[in-house]
């Protein structure tokens, strides 16, 4: 490879820990992160790690050698079964190395990989998954060809997760105003030039078509400079009424993450199609409703492509269900929010549907609730636990890993308990055989499921709508008033506050 040859001293430094530890990931600077957090602990385990975890072999550890500038104290680094550290700072002004145990994230990673679940792309909007359909059918791995997108510069891919523009619905109001003023406003001239080009193209093609129909030779193509102001303002007026085209244009120009498909989008598109590929294509992005993740949709936490494999039991043979996981009921149902389960250290919601984790009134299929779902279980030592089956995980717009679980069968639970020596069902004596009757499949009310899906997104959809409108207004407003507009200098606030002070 290229690059200048390094001196032996330089090579030594470069291969040392001191230099090879990457910079910590930045804290998300968005204002919305601290607006939501009213209460927090500084020492809590963060939802995602920022620092690299390092470890050291026993012989070196005994000498305090972690490959850093100075040896680390043996008292803390030797008295642990998990010698995993994160280095906050290699060297501080107090002449110490600031380190901390990284066992929390490292062991969480290990536990997650023991779950053996694939990372998948979040379900598209409107996709309702019921308990009767196989959920694997709807799952798409993040490592599939069409969505495993790693080239950040390439903006032509439809299934991207990385965009140059921000996701409008997630921004705090202050951030949004900043974005409008600093990023959107300065680009108005370029956008209007683009619109002129587009109008010229449209007019040219229509006049060419007219010429072909009347059997005349094709006239000169119309240039963007030749367009009159009146033509252009008419075009802008028509665009303002055509939200679909306008959004396609603005989002392409600013490279905004996609929106959920508006109601009637497909029909409008078919009727008013102008033959333009850019606007005609319905965005098939899975991140329309929930917003794109801040990292690759796998989050770098798991690399399994599919969970479609069958487990084999040494005695009972192939198993229909995966080995269930014992999940901790970290929180009971509080008001409208359902109970939370801790699956391998990741907090997840309880399985959807009519099962022992959901309180369902007036249902035919009422089953006794699991321990600790309705109220905190204070009698079980160590807290309430339940067997569930995780089947996939997704990365949400905040970068958190959301494990999705479903209920497991009682047989699988029994076998799992037997493996731990908690029950005994193995019986190799002669058994009387009976033909099992197929159980009636419990049907799940679709409405409730749909409500669950929708409730989280309703507010954001409205916000997104209003913000998109504001972006349009900014893009389409006249550029002449840029200099004369006092609000662009933040003067509006002061001038409006003058009258009350005069009365003092």
């Amino acid at each position: 490879m290229g690059g200048p040859a390094v001196s032996p001293g330089g090579a030594l430094l470069r291969s040392s820990r001191m230099f090879s530890i990457p910079k910590p990931l930045p804290v998300s600077s968005s204002a919305s992160t601290f607006l939501g957090e009213q209460r927090a602990s500084a020492t809590m385990t963060k939802a995602k790690p920022r620092h690299q975890t390092i470890t050291s072999p026993l012989r070196s550890r005994q000498k305090g050698d972690w490959g850093l500038k100075r040896p680390l104290p043996l008292k803390t680094t030797m008295a642990t079964t998990t010698p995993l550290l994160r280095i906050n700072e290699v060297d501080t002004v107090e002449n110490i190395t600031d380190f901390q145990s990284a066992a929390d994230h490292s062991l969480s990673l290990e536990k997650f990989q023991e779950l053996r679940i694939p990372m998948s792309i979040p379900r598209r909007d409107g996709e309702v998954v019921s308990a009767t359909t196989k959920k694997e059918d709807n799952l798409r791995s993040v490592f599939e060809e069409e969505s495993d997108f790693t080239d950040v510069q390439d903006t032509s891919v439809d299934q991207r997760w990385k965009f140059k523009g921000p996701w409008l619905a997630q921004m705090a109001d202050g951030d949004f105003l900043n974005y409008l003023n600093k990023k959107v406003r300065p680009q108005r001239v370029q956008f209007r030039a683009l619109l002129r080009e587009r109008l010229a193209e449209r007019l040219t093609s229509s006049q060419n078509r007219a010429a072909v129909e009347s059997g005349k030779p094709t006239p000169e193509p119309i240039k963007a400079e030749d367009l009159t102001e009146e033509q252009f303002s008419d075009y802008i007026r028509s665009l303002r009424n055509d939200r679909v085209t306008l959004y396609a244009l603005v989002s392409k120009f600013l490279d905004l993450p996609p929106l959920g498909t508006p109601i009637g989008f497909a029909q409008n598109n078919l009727i008013f199609s102008d033959g333009n590929q850019a606007t005609d294509k319905i965005t098939e992005s899975p991140y329309g409703k929930s917003g794109p993740p801040p990292s690759h949709p796998s989050g770098g936490i798991g690399y399994l492509r599919t969970g479609a494999f069958m487990e084999n039991h040494a005695v009972y043979g192939p198993q229909a269900k995966k080995t269930p996981i014992q999940a901790r009921v970290v929180s009971p149902r509080i008001g409208p929010s359902p109970a939370k389960l801790g699956v391998g250290g990741f907090v997840a919601t309880v399985p959807v549907g009519a099962n022992e984790f959901n309180v369902r009134s007036g249902s035919k299929f009422r089953r006794p609730l699991a321990n600790g779902i309705n109220n905190l279980d204070i009698s079980t030592y160590g807290g309430a636990k339940a067997y569930i089956e995780p089947f996939t995980a997704t990365v949400d717009p905040e970068g958190k890993v959301v494990v999705q679980v479903r209920e497991t069968s009682p047989e699988a639970q029994l076998i799992a308990k037997e493996m731990r020596g908690l029950s005994s069902i193995y019986n190799d004596s002669e058994l009387k055989r009976t033909i099992p009757q197929p159980e009636p499949v419990e049907e799940l009310p679709q409405q409730e499921l749909h409500d669950r899906e929708v409730e989280g997104h309703a507010g954001e959809a409205e916000l997104q709508d209003s913000r998109v409108k504001q972006v349009y207004d900014q893009m389409l407003s006249e550029e002449q008033n840029v200099l004369s507009n006092s609000s662009s200098y933040g003067l509006d606030a002061e001038s409006s506050s003058e009258p009350p002070s005069e009365t003092k």
Binding site: Q38, R39, A40, T45, A47, D104, D173, V330, F346, N375
Partner: protein, 225 residues
């Protein structure tokens, strides 16, 4: 406390004597009970009236005392009324007890949950340390503000003079404007905010020596009275 139904027990006293066992042929009912039936309906043991569920379960049995078969054979209307009332009283009692148990459990759960103030969100990661009491205590305290909330919200503080909850956020209980150390605002916004609060207090729409009257209303007009 079981409901004391004086009319019921009076009726029962008169009916017990007529309670003709000859109509039933089962062993349990044919023999007289070992102990005298108690005054409280929920103390009655044995197969006589275990619960409403039992009586429902035996609905189809031929030897049911108040069944249609017996009706013509001289069981008085009064007896049937009494047994029905008894059943209903027992069912009510059971339901009441179950309800009480549920409420007690709920209260206990709530009391313990107060010691675990962390509201878990989907996607949170925890390690054993996060479940410890030490860590849970930290979630009780309000996190200190780390950023400028006025910038984050993109609002003009001078317009908030009628927003009393916003003013209450930035004033003490006795009306002083909080220091920027506590509010976490940058100097520009702190000045604007202080100006707004001074104006609201000067206009007389927000008190300068105590909380807003709506906030301390309960102290003078307790909600229970």
């Amino acid at each position: 406390m079981p409901p004391r139904l004086s009319i019921l027990s009076a009726l029962r006293a008169s009916v017990e004597s007529i309670n003709s066992r000859a109509f039933s042929s089962t062993a349990a009912v044919a023999f007289p009970p070992r102990e005298a039936p108690s005054a409280h309906p929920h103390h009655s043991t044995g197969s006589q009236q275990a619960s409403s569920t039992n009586s429902l379960l035996s609905l189809n049995r031929p030897n049911r005392r108040s069944g249609p078969k017996d009706r013509g054979a001289g069981v008085s209307v009064a007896e049937r009324m009494v047994s029905r009332a008894k059943e209903r009283a027992e069912a009510d009692l059971l339901a009441q007890q179950a309800n009480q148990d549920l409420r007690r459990e709920e209260q206990l759960s709530k009391a313990y949950l107060r010691e675990m103030p962390r509201f878990w969100k989907v996607g949170d990661v925890y390690s054993p340390h996060d479940l410890s009491p030490v860590e849970m205590q930290k979630w009780r305290r309000r996190a200190e503000r780390r950023g400028d909330i006025i910038d984050a919200l993109g609002i003009n503080p001078l317009d908030m003079y009628k927003n009393f909850s916003a003013i209450a956020e930035f004033t003490r209980s006795s009306g002083q404007i909080m220091h920027s150390r506590q509010t976490g605002l940058r100097p520009v916004n702190q000045r604007k905010l202080a100006k707004m609060i001074r104006r609201a207090q000067g206009m007389g729409i927000y008190p300068s020596i105590h909380k807003h009257p709506e906030m301390i209303r309960d102290r003078f007009y307790p909600p229970g009275l």
